[in-house]
């Protein structure tokens, strides 16, 4: 074996002060315990930083092997890598054959000859030469070359397992036929009975809108009843013995994040959970050079394992999470976004709660809020919205035993149950809401926990519109998927949950789409005194429309006002009065989402992060 770039471990890690003696010992212990290579532990468990490690290698005149990822297909395919990809990922080793047919291996640690010999044993072949490359490049090559089966499952597993639950089809054939028939009937009624038809449509829109708002109000009140209750006490958390804690997987899907990676790394370090029991996966898309370079250049140690997602459509967060799910080892799993700052003891609280609640509970949703809430008008409104959603509405759903649509992050799962459900739907752009409902459809339950993850609120209008259009589009997808067989859904989840789903998911979409229509109606009648309104609509209907629209808006403003109390964000209360303006923004996003539902249903509108100047401390 030729290893002309060999460096002694002591020289590379200890003499260079990358590791002190104690840490070096810990790395060795952990390496044996978790059956991973020395460098893997050192990099992924917060002992050394990638940036400093690379500098040290360069100081030792290491020449890095440069992968050409476009020609990976030309490399020899090793069955051993396919069969046990996990082994090679842990070893950070990529085997290849040179032009002479000799086996060479690319590794990241020039000091670890034992690792190389193990690889040779695994391959059952002799290794002729050792090359050195950055660990991220090696991992990327492994995933891109050998991760195709996993990638297929990440995209199509749910569809193969349960096609009726997948959003791969936006509209099923039956739904198209049904909508077509309804459309024809509507046109016929409009032709023969135009006035009656328009009146009926108006009545329906008004009633449904008002009912949806009233339903949310009832939820908010129900949630406010449990405002002061706490499912977990601080004493229960402090009593925990770290040795009794299970392995916890954290998935961190990222895309084009540069600055935020630094904050992410710091936030993970602050988590109060034994390091050796954290199984953190940083999910990076294979074509995401921005994030890859940011991770490579990190100059402080991080606690995550990079997982590189091979390129495949749809390019969505759920697909990335499904891919990461394959490599997850924990008993519980959660997802955090790049900019998330969870409560330090959130993982421990979840562990305690899972032990307390009945076994049919498979997921826990923690509260989300924003650390940059007072930055501008948008962040203030966003904070109000999230506050009433997570502090009052979801607890209200929990209290009334109605299905809870999960939030984007800080939802904690039992990993085995998540796999049983088929993971996330890669074709649904609000995979979280969908998964929550799918859980209920399989007779599982979800609850909420009063532990907060602070995020960055969108402070840019266009960024907000993009994000919101994706959410509303996702709600439309979720609604269409779960209403493919409404009778079956009703029989599975029961009347309360069925109605709750229709009002909460369907009602939300309907509300934002119909809001501008009703607003226009009111303005035309009340402000412009339009006579043709009076021609088409009887007085009693106009008065009902005015009342339901006005009171609906007042209720929504009021709900936003209630929202400030739990977190004592009193300075935001007057902004609640501008909720109608905020709703117009929602309506713009809703129509954008509706158009995309038809033209590009799986398109993931990327939300730009790291725009705020505010930190959690400020």
């Amino acid at each position: 074996m030729v290893n002309d770039q060999y460096i002694y471990r002591k020289q590379l890690f200890l003499d260079s002060n990358l590791l002190d003696v104690t840490s070096h010992k810990k790395v060795i212990e952990l390496s044996k315990k978790l059956d991973k290579s020395f460098l893997k532990i050192a990099l992924d468990y917060g002992f050394i930083s990638r940036g400093n490690y690379k500098k040290q290698l360069l100081k030792n005149n290491i020449e890095f092997y440069q992968f050409d990822f476009n020609t990976l297909n030309n490399f020899t395919y090793f069955d051993a890598c396919k069969e046990d990809l996990y082994y090679f990922l842990n070893a950070i080793a990529f085997p290849l054959k040179n032009n002479n047919g000799d086996v060479e291996v690319i590794v990241s640690d020039p000091s670890d000859t034992n690792n190389v010999y193990s690889i040779a044993d695994k391959l059952g072949l002799q290794i002729y030469k050792v090359h050195i490359a950055e660990d991220l490049d090696i991992l990327k090559a492994l995933h891109v070359k050998y991760g195709d089966d996993i990638l297929y499952k990440a995209v199509f597993n749910l569809y193969d397992q349960d096609p009726e639950s997948s959003a791969i089809e936006t509209f099923t054939y039956k739904q198209v036929v049904f909508l077509g028939i309804m459309g024809i009937i509507a046109l016929l009624f409009l032709f023969f009975y135009p006035k009656t038809s328009i009146v009926c449509v108006n009545v329906f829109i008004n009633l449904f809108l008002f009912s949806s708002i009233l339903f949310k109000f009832i939820l908010t009140i129900a949630g406010s009843k449990v405002e002061l209750e706490s499912k977990i006490t601080p004493e229960e958390v402090t009593k925990i013995n770290d040795d009794d804690l299970p392995i916890y997987t954290i998935l961190l899907p990222v895309f084009k994040e540069s600055e935020v990676i630094y904050k992410l790394a710091l936030n993970l370090k602050n988590l109060d959970y034994p390091k050796d029991k954290l199984d953190v996966k940083l999910l990076i898309e294979s074509d995401d050079e921005v994030t890859t370079n940011a991770v490579k250049d990190l100059v402080f140690p991080t606690i995550f394992e990079p997982i590189v997602i091979p390129y495949a459509m749809p390019k969505t967060k759920p697909k990335a999470c499904n891919y990461g799910l394959y490599f997850s080892k924990g008993k519980y799993l959660t997802i955090y976004d790049a900019e998330d700052i969870p409560d330090k003891d959130q993982l421990k609280q979840v562990c305690v709660l899972f032990d307390k609640i009945p076994k049919e509970y498979i997921a826990i949703q923690c509260a989300l809020n924003y650390f940059n809430k007072t930055e501008n008008y948008l962040t203030k409104m966003f904070t109000l919205e999230y506050s009433y959603w997570f502090d009052y509405m979801l607890p209200g759903l929990d209290k009334l035993k109605i299905p809870i649509p999960l939030g984007g992050t800080s939802n904690h799962f039992k990993l085995d149950k998540l796999r049983e459900l088929g993971g996330w739907d890669g074709f649904n752009v609000t995979e979280d809401a969908d998964l929550g409902l799918r859980s209920y459809a399989k007779n599982y339950k979800i609850t909420v926990l009063n532990s907060t993850t602070n995020e960055e609120a969108n402070n840019d209008f266009y960024n907000w519109i993009r994000q919101r259009s994706r959410w509303i589009k996702g709600y439309m997808q979720t609604y269409l998927v779960h209403m493919r067989n409404p009778i079956k859904l009703y029989k599975t989840v029961g009347l309360k949950a069925f109605l709750g789903f229709n009002f909460f998911i369907g009602g939300t979409v309907f509300t934002f789409l119909s809001y501008p229509v009703l607003l226009l109606f009111i303005i035309l009648y009340y402000v412009f005194k339009s006579e043709w309104i009076g021609f088409f609509f009887p007085e009693w209907l106009i008065i009902i429309a005015i009342i339901s629209f006005s009171i609906g808006n007042i209720i929504m403003i009021y709900m936003n006002m209630i929202a400030i109390f739990k977190r004592k964000s009193y300075s935001l209360i007057l902004y609640a009065i501008t909720n109608p303006i905020y709703w117009i923004m929602h309506s713009i996003s809703a129509y954008k989402g509706l158009i995309q539902l038809i033209t590009k249903p799986f398109y993931w509108e990327k939300t730009n992060h790291g725009l705020t100047k505010t930190t959690k401390e400020s």
């Binding site: 406010s224 007085e539 008065i543 006005s550 007042i554 009021y558 006002m561 209630i562 739990k566 004592k568």
Partner: protein
């Protein structure tokens, strides 16, 4: 759980059945009252295709009473107000019994059950058919939530308080002053939020005022509390005013329109015979008000003293009713009737339910004895109140129940209606001022076609009765309602019409119109 539900269902049905039986008896004896007749009249008018539905229904006041009774109008328009009052009062009573049953033994729950069943105030609420039951339900809910907030300091209770106040504009908009009355309480609650374990109220206040950050937080907290209580009711009321302006060209159309309330003529709230009165309920006579309050507030006084150390509870008990009465004086309300006075009684019940377990009387037997004695005392006081009341509806109820006497005006109207049913051809068109003669219209029960005040046909008929009406009902000059009768103004000069009287009572005439 299931056993408890069945128990409370039985309690509910017991109240409903017993009140229903009582009502049947008094109605068979001839009990009539203005407000239920007015509500029934509106339901009957809704079936008339010529009327302006919006103006007739949405601006009838109080609209809340109409909405609550409306579902029962599909069974029977005449009985609808009574069905509603029985049902909702029974709900309230069941809730009270249920709440106290959770805190005490079976014997005491039975005593409470019996008190509510035999209390003249609750009997009146359930069987009078007036909107009184709505007042007690709203008062009860409002104060019960307020007291619970004092126990828990959860925004949940303040929200429910606000929702309760939001219904007030549809019952009696003057009561919206309650929002202002709550502001001092909200101030106290806000100080409590900053409470230090070892300090009192004044020290807390001093501590807040010394620190700028605390001051800022205190002010924003206080403003938030005020907004939470006031935003919903004020907004809802403003929308109602806006709709009034849209359809009636006046923000207070529901008040100025004389057909929108049972006593919008303002004359129906006086008794036809005054006689010697022990007490005057005129709002400006505060001593008399205090005397009358004592009749129905033994319980209130008990709640005041029984737990005087619970400072916030005592403050609430003191502030609300007193300010309410003072504000009534400021508003120059001519009469304070039970609709307002009952706040003393209801706030006491709400306090009793919330703090029963915590009050200073620790001995269960002593508690039982004292409360039972007060319940007996309250029944006596309430009875005596009704005996002394000069509020027309309360007086009607009392005299009807105890002496089988009917109000003279209503009795005359009833006889007129009987004449119309027997002597006037079916589907004849009758012109009369609905705000005065709605009892006749109600008794008629849509057998004949009465022109509604707000319809175009009424306006045409006023100018040309010969063309648009077959019969006319008009007040006589000696009638207490003569000056309010719009027809008396239009028709009085028309001698030809006035000569063709087919029926005459003490206060009005029915005329057959000579067709030209």
């Amino acid at each position: 759980m299931k056993t408890n539900r069945i128990k409370y269902l039985i309690i509910f049905f017991s109240y409903t059945v017993i009140y229903g039986l009582f009502l049947t008896i008094i109605r068979n004896d001839g009990y009539l009252n203005f407000e239920p007749l007015y509500v029934s009249h509106n339901f009957l008018m809704l079936k008339n295709p010529d009327i302006d539905l919006v103006k007739k229904f949405f601006f009838s006041y109080p609209i809340l009473t109409h909405i609550l009774a409306y579902p029962f109008s599909f069974i029977n328009s005449l009985d609808a107000p009574f069905y509603a009052s029985i049902l909702f009062t029974s709900f309230l009573n069941t809730f009270i019994v249920r709440t106290i049953a959770k805190q005490t033994n079976v014997l005491f729950s039975i005593i409470v059950f019996i008190y509510l069943l035999t209390s003249p105030i609750f009997i009146y609420a359930a069987t009078s058919g007036t909107s009184f039951y709505v007042y007690i339900i709203i008062y009860f809910y409002l104060f019960y939530m307020l007291f619970n907030y004092v126990k828990n300091y959860s925004i949940y209770y303040l929200t429910l308080c606000s929702i309760a106040i939001s219904f007030i504009p549809f019952l009696d908009y003057k009561l919206l002053w309650i929002v202002l009355m709550l502001i001092p309480l909200l101030f106290i609650f806000t100080v409590k939020n900053f409470h230090d374990k070892d300090s009192g109220f004044i020290l807390d206040l001093i501590r807040i005022s010394k620190d700028k950050n605390s001051q800022k937080l205190f002010i924003s907290n206080f403003i938030s509390m005020v907004l939470i209580i006031s935003f919903l009711p004020i907004s809802v009321f403003l929308i109602y005013l806006m709709i009034n302006n849209l359809y009636g060209d006046d923000f207070f159309f529901f008040l100025i329109n004389n057909t929108s309330g049972w006593n919008n003529n303002n004359i129906n709230n006086l008794t036809s015979t005054l006689g010697n009165l022990e007490y005057s309920l005129n709002a400006v006579n505060s001593f008399a008000v205090i005397k009358i309050i004592l009749l129905i507030s033994a319980f209130y006084c008990l709640e005041f003293v029984i737990d005087i150390k619970q400072s916030i509870k005592v403050v609430i008990l003191a502030i609300i009713p007193v300010i309410l009465i003072l504000l009534m004086r400021e508003q120059k309300i001519e009469m304070i009737n039970l609709n307002f006075l009952v706040v003393f009684h209801i706030i006491a019940i709400a306090s009793f339910l919330t703090f029963y377990k915590q009050n200073t009387l620790k001995s269960k037997n002593l508690k039982l004895t004292i409360y039972s004695l007060f319940f007996i005392g309250m029944i006596y006081g309430e009875f005596h109140y009704f005996k002394s009341s000069i509020s027309i509806q309360e007086k009607n109820f009392f005299t009807s129940v105890t002496k089988n006497e009917t109000n003279e005006i209503l009795e005359l109207n009833k006889r007129g209606a009987i004449f119309i049913l027997n002597s006037i051809p079916l589907n004849s068109t009758i012109l009369c001022d609905n705000s005065v003669f709605y009892p006749i219209i109600t008794f008629d029960n849509n057998t004949h076609h009465f022109l509604e005040n707000l319809s175009d046909d009424f306006t045409k008929a006023l100018k040309k009765p010969a063309k648009h009406a077959d019969y006319i009902i008009i007040s006589k000059e000696n009638s207490p309602l003569y000056s309010k009768d719009i027809l008396a103004y239009y028709i009085k000069e028309n001698a030809a019409l006035l000569n063709h009287i087919i029926y005459e009572s003490k206060y009005y005439q029915i005329l057959k119109v000579r067709k030209s």
